[in-house]
Symmetry: C2
DNA sequence: GGAAAGGATGTTATGTTATAACATCATCAA
DNA sequence: TTGATGATGTTATAACATAACATCCTTTCC
């Protein structure tokens, strides 16, 4: 994400939190910014390392608390299969998304595919299950990396 | 799973491994049996505890190696969102399944829903992504628990 | 301003999940 | 029997996550 876009996203997060009456404190903002600035998902401990550069010796709970807040507000998502976190690309409204995770280059793209959500809902109705949080993560190879393999 | 069914499943796993020319050793068989006998998913360390009862002091790698083998053979599945494992209900053919995970009673049901797989494949084709392993886990409340809440 | 309340953060310790690295043992084929 | 391969044992440590309690900061109300 480039600097301009990053500023926009941060600004949007500020507004969103103000509107909701919750506090995007300095710590929380830092964690969010680090996640958005990274082109790859970051584990809690990676975030911790990057915070050490600026702040003085933060401990794991600092990061996990910030992440809890950001997850609640929908500003970040957790990738269960990677034990890592990514900034959300469109936090304005609550949503369920799906993730394409490339095992080669490590890039992750978030998508919000209606057909997938529909098929999940159909399955739920058939079984009487009430989903609170769907986890959909596709582990594989992205288009760019697949092409490299073919040519390489 | 009742005793008769368990015997069948174990027997089936034996046959499957023989057919594939891989070895379902005592350790691996024990881990598989513990998972199948449990009505809930088990973490690697829960499995370890239950093994301690019989064998003498196994260490984590013992369990993780057995799990790796069983995962490769499709005899068990990993639930990423729970850091836990379940025995597969139909390991005869390779498959991608989805899991309904009840946060109330802890029960997990495995399903193989064609419509969901189709929708995932459609999304892949649209993006050029090649999925090696889809993770679909729905976290929520099962029908029985939902009913209890309503009446309770 | 000062006191009280609630939320956020700091700090220490520990729990939980997973793997690295190397030694030993079992099995099988030549 | 000997060498190759795969499986297991063993020790140590890495990586991920939370409990518990102290302190501080902000807001509100007087
Ligand atoms: Zn999102
Ligand atoms: Zn890639
Ligand atoms: Zn299965
Ligand atoms: Zn339930």
């Amino acid at each position: 994400m480039n600097k301009k876009k990053l500023t926009e996203v941060l600004c949007g997060a500020e507004q969103l939190c103000r509107k909701r009456g919750v506090r995007l404190t300095a710590r929380r903002r830092t964690v969010f910014e680090l996640l958005c600035a990274s082109d790859k998902p970051l584990s809690a401990y990676k975030i911790l390392d990057r915070m050490r550069v600026a702040a003085r010796n933060p401990a794991p709970p600092t990061v996990y608390r910030a992440l809890d807040f950001l997850l609640e507000q929908g500003l970040v998502h957790k990738l269960e299969s990677l034990h890592a976190f990514v900034g959300c690309t469109h936090p304005e409204h609550p949503h369920s998304s799906q993730f394409l995770i490339c095992g080669d280059c490590g890039e992750v793209s978030e998508m919000e595919n209606e057909a997938i959500l529909q098929s999940l809902q159909t399955a739920e109705r058939a079984t009487g299950f009430k989903t609170r949080h769907p986890v959909v993560e596709l582990l594989g190879t992205c288009a760019q990396c697949a092409e490299k393999h073919q040519s390489g």
